[in-house]
Structure formats: C-alpha cells, structure tokens
Subunit: 423 residues, 2 copies
Amino acid sequence: MTQMQYALKGTITKEMMQVATNEELAPEWICSEVAAGRITIPKNINHNFDAVGIGNGLRTKINANIGTSEKHCNQEEEIRKLDISIKYGADSIMDLSTGGDLQKILERVIKHSPVMVGTVPIYKVMANLLMENKTFSQMKPDDIFSEIERQAIMGVDFMTLHCGVTRNSLSFLKNDERILGIVSRGGSLLRRWMEKNNAENPLFEQYDRVLDICEKYDVTISLGDGLRPGAGADASDRGQFAELLILGELVDRARARGVQVIVEGPGHMPLDQIEMNIKLMKKICKQAPFYVLGPLTTDIAPGYDHIVGAIGGAIAAAAGVDFLCYLTPAEHLCLPDEEDVKQGVIASRIAAQSGDIVKGVKSAIRQNNAMSKARRDLNWEAMFNCAIDPEQARKRKSSSESADEDHCTMCGNLCAIKTDRDI
Amino acid sequence: MTQMQYALKGTITKEMMQVATNEELAPEWICSEVAAGRITIPKNINHNFDAVGIGNGLRTKINANIGTSEKHCNQEEEIRKLDISIKYGADSIMDLSTGGDLQKILERVIKHSPVMVGTVPIYKVMANLLMENKTFSQMKPDDIFSEIERQAIMGVDFMTLHCGVTRNSLSFLKNDERILGIVSRGGSLLRRWMEKNNAENPLFEQYDRVLDICEKYDVTISLGDGLRPGAGADASDRGQFAELLILGELVDRARARGVQVIVEGPGHMPLDQIEMNIKLMKKICKQAPFYVLGPLTTDIAPGYDHIVGAIGGAIAAAAGVDFLCYLTPAEHLCLPDEEDVKQGVIASRIAAQSGDIVKGVKSAIRQNNAMSKARRDLNWEAMFNCAIDPEQARKRKSSSESADEDHCTMCGNLCAIKTDRDI
C-alpha cells in the first residue's frame, strides 16, 4: 500500500510519524494532508531511509541533481557530489546520469543515499537506444514502461515523467511563438518521438500503466513540465499552461488511485510572473506539492545561475512552492563539479529559508532569531552555529585581523552594536 | 546651480543629455523628472565624470562600498577594489573609510573614480575625534557641518546623512522592542550623542545648514536610515516608520530649495514585507529615488550574504527601488577583499537586471533576449558576449570536455535545443 492509501484509511505510518517529528507537527494532521494529496512522502517500499515530507505546512525541501553525462563520466565523483549535497543540507537527490553504466550508478546512488532518490527514466531509455545504435524515434512504448518498472523495483522514490507533453499541449505551443522552443530533454525527446511516429505520448495515453507501477512500489510521480519556458521572454505562454491543465487532470487520476504525485514547474521567468504562476498551479492542481527549477529571473548570468535561481526560488517558496531543485554556478555551461554542488545546495537553502520565514515554519524562524540574538550579544560561536555554512563563516572571521576580537574588521570599534550597547 | 534648479527652469544640461542618451529616453522627459525630484543626477560641481541618473524610469543602479577600516587599512587595495567594482559594472562608489589618512584616501577615490562618489561624513568626524582621544559625545555640531562642507568642496557627489534619527523617531524605537537595536553606525553614534548631550540631532535641527552646503555644490543628500532593522524579526516596526515619516518631510524641504535628494531603506526584512515597504516609502517620500541595502531575506547566511542581498534587491527593484547598495560575501564577518567586491557587484547586477526586466527597461530586455537567441542558436561566443561576466562563462565552458562542441557537458548530444532544432 502507498502512504496515501494508508492515510486514506486513517492509518498513521512510521513514515508519517517521522515527518511529524521532523516538522514539529501533529501526526494526525500529517496523515490527513497525505490523504488529501497536499503532502507527499516520497519513499519506495524497496528503499529504506528516514522519510521526509513535501508539501503544505512543511519546511521547503531542496533537491540536488547529480549524475554522469556522455562527456563527463566518473562514478566516484558523483558519489562524492552526493555526500557534499547531504553535508550542506539537500533533502533529496536526483540521479540524472546519462553516461556510463547507468544501472550500476543508480544502484550505488540508491544504496548510498540517506535521502529520497529521484530519476528521469526516459534518460535511461534514450541511453539504451543509443547503445544499440538506434534513435529515440525507434523507442517502443513498452521500453519506457519496462524502465519505469525496473527503477521502481530498484527503489527509486520519485520519477519525473513528462506525461503532459501531448498533442493538445504541443498544438498550443506551436501557435504561440517562442525564442527557445522546448528546453526539457524529456520534453524534446517525446515531441520528436510523437512527430516521427505520428502518435500520442505513451506516458499520457497509457497513464494507467504508470499508475499501476507507482501504486505497487509507492513511487511518487513528479509530473514533469516538458514545455517549461527556457527564456524569460517565453514564460507564461499558452503552451506552458496547456500542459499545466493536463497535469491537473493527471493529479486527479493519480489521487483517485492512491498514488502520490507532485507537479513540476518552470523555469525561466520574469520576477513579477512567479507568484501568479505558483498560485495558478496550486489552484489547477488542487494544492498538489509543487516542485520548481529556479525560476530564473534573468538569463544573462551564466556562471552565477545559483544566485539567479535563489532569487526565483525564494519568491516561489514564499508564494507556496514546496520543493526547490537547485541550480549550480555551472548551469548552462557544463556539468557541475563538487564545488558547484556545494554552492548550489547552499544557494537553494538560502532560498528555502527565505520562503520558510514567510510560511511561518517554526524551525526557520527560530534559527533566524537565534542568529539575531547571537549578533546582539556579539557571540561569534553562537553565530557560527546558526549559520548555513559554519565552516565558511568561521574561516572568514578567524583569518581576519579581528580574529580574536568581539567586533569584526568591517567596523572595528565603530561597531554599531557595541555603540548601541554602551548607551 | 543644482541640476534640479536647472530643470525647474526648463534648462536641459549636459548631464541630463548624458542621462537621456545612456537610458534611451528623451532629454525633455529627464529634465521634467529631475525638476519633480523623481530622478536625481548626483554630480558635484567640483567632480568631472559622465553623469548617471537614479530614479523613475531609469535602469536600476548599483553602488559598491569600498574603504579602509581601523583594523584593515591599505589604500592601494581600496583603489584596486574601486577598479574591480567598475570593471564588473558598479554605477557608484561609496568610500566608507574609517582607518588611516581619510582625507587622502577620499581625495584619491574622487580623482580615480569614473563614477559618482558617495560618503558618510560622520565617519570622518568620529575618526578625527578618536585621533584627538575624544569620544563621539564630545562632538560639536559645527564639526559635522565643517566636515560636510570640506567633502563638498572636495567633490563628493552624494552623502549619507542620518537626519531622521530624532527624539521623535527614537521614542518610537524605544517603545517597540527589538532583538537588535540600532545597527547603523551613523545612527548609533548620533543616538549616543543625543543622549549624552541631551540634545536634538544637529543634522535634523540645523537641516537648513545641510541644504545650504548641498545647494552650493550640488551634493545629493542621501537621507540615511539610521533606524533600519538589523534582524528580520525587527523589520517594519514603528521606529523604522517614524524615521521614514521624518525623511518624507525632509525630502519636501530639500526639493523646495532645489537640492537633490534620495532616501535610504532597509535592511534585514522577511521577503513578504519588501514590496509593502518600497511602496510605502515611495508614497511617503513623494516618489523620491529609493536606495536600499539588501534587503536581506534571511539572517543565517554569513559568508553568502551577497546571495541573500540579491534576493531582496531583485524584489525591491521590481517593486520600484532605483538604487541598490551591494552586499558582499564578507558582510557580517570582515572587511571585503577584492574577490568579495567582484562577487558583490555581480550579485547586485543580477538583482538589478531581474528588476529591470519587470520595470520594462529596454536595454535589460534586449540583453536578456539576445542571450536567449544565442542559446537557441547554440552560439557560444554570442552567449559569452551577453553574459554579466563573460570571462567566467567562457572559462567554465572552455575548460570542460565539450570546449569545442556546440553542446555542453551537462547534456552532451542529448541537448534539448539540438533535439528540438532537428525536428
């Protein structure tokens, strides 16, 4: 049975208890929100770890993408990235590997990860076809369902499935010109397959097969946004919302089967469109947990897209987004390295924390106020302890000329806090 | 005559022409906005450089703080920081030096800077008193006016003056408990002086003397927010707004004399309070240009406060803020080094650009769309040219395994743009 099916029967599972404890909320309330689909607890029945919830009333969670690519493939490096992600506070890992022995890498990630693991199964399908010297157009619908089932058996907790890239949504995309077309790998592959085979997206057409598998292993479906805008100028167009309407229907169908589901969102988007998008999505998808990539509020900062993503992510979280996918400084340029992963996770945590203060998440407000009190008391050890990255904060202070002073080298004895305290 | 006085007579100055050209706007419109005080052109009659405007309808500007401190004092390093700030796109430099030969440093900064220069004159007053083994409480009101005049003669373009820290605003602060009290150096010094001397703030009581000097040299007054919140929990309290009401009156009095004026704002502030604060300030101060430090949407990220400041700054700019003061990774820990300055300027530019897209600034939208078109065409040279930091973007791509490919190592041949283009 899935967590949602237990919740619908009023059974409070061990996982719901873990979420309740972690979030300082009542288990009964967690159970009723899971039953309603407003909270999900992505946890495959074949994967053992401490469960974490995503959704209404909970701390905003963050995901770190790791994984090899065709051009850069080193399993050990990816495992190190996983460790770094966990160290700096990721709540979830997605293995997006597309190079090397994908089966082996995913096995290692699932075994090694102390947090939920997500995938995009279509990447593996594509890689298999390439190894057989086939193109993606030659994919058989059964290939994708077999891969979903294989990964479900392995213990994957949530899967991005681009079920909303359909003839209907693509027709709206076609009639509303974009600078960039489709920037989702899954979305662009499915569109190509549909055009070459003159057929509907199998993930949509045979959605019940998806539900069968996900119900069996309690895999949470992450409904992918294959038509997400890849340029600020393309944001909030008819193609994007046509897909969203379909995702809304697919949320209903998953819930009717007791299958847990979250919905993915954009993308590149001007700052003033973010709140509208979040509220619209939450309405259309009946308060399903919402998972965003970015949004990126400007396109001109390659090398610094973790900062751009933190801007959009903070606004999105404050507007109700539940789950942030990190962006690293390498975005749009290359596969991230270990330092990129660290910077990406920290930037996402800043965004999540900024949102959580607005959401009224108790632990976030407590941590924020503890920092302010430590500053009032000029208690540097307490400041370091409250910091997102205590090592970095300590390093900067302790390598300065005021290492052992109660003030810092910015103000010296002109420190406003000291002046104010002396009155 | 000041730029505002020329504008009130309908005279379009060389400076207004420079602003009009730079902003792709009509000189007549610039002139009328300067006359109304909704645009300022900070430029001392004794300082020669290409003028830049701040305010309504213009590109959001960014300021970089440089300057020595008591604990870290190296003039050459500060000049290098100035050069780095300019290289990465700062529109303004504030010399906040508090250590060493302050007169000499400021002279060098004014001479060396190709952009407007700002100061906080009270720092110099304090430093002089310390050299004479006096405390700030022993300051004579004439000391501060002499220093303002000395700096005006030297060519300082704008000065932060904490005129709104008054008996009235301090009484509101006292009755509305904060975690952190006053975190503005100028604000805390003035409060101490007022309490020790049982007197009103001379910058408020003798505001006409301030106006006399600023009118003579066309120094733009930057009305400081001495009571800005230094903790998210302290934001938007009665002390903060009591000061704002006073600043609103002082804006009127400056405008009545033809003296240019901008208003400074917070500070540490939860994300959902930013827009309200900006709109309130703009209303109370009759659309005077608004200059903010941050706002910082969480307190727990020392080492990464440039990211936190970019979140708040982007939201503030989109809501109408005209001028962003940068924050660096060193904020709350130590005096920034050269790398901090670079990171701070770039983060602020990302924030400004994110706001400018919302404001409809043509050059910002053009640059954003040029990047998206370059991405569509997989034209890497064009991407680097559109980037905020072309060197960094180029370095990451060219040091990857896909250095000479049209794709990058993130997706390899699975690149969605390539897939989409091939359809």
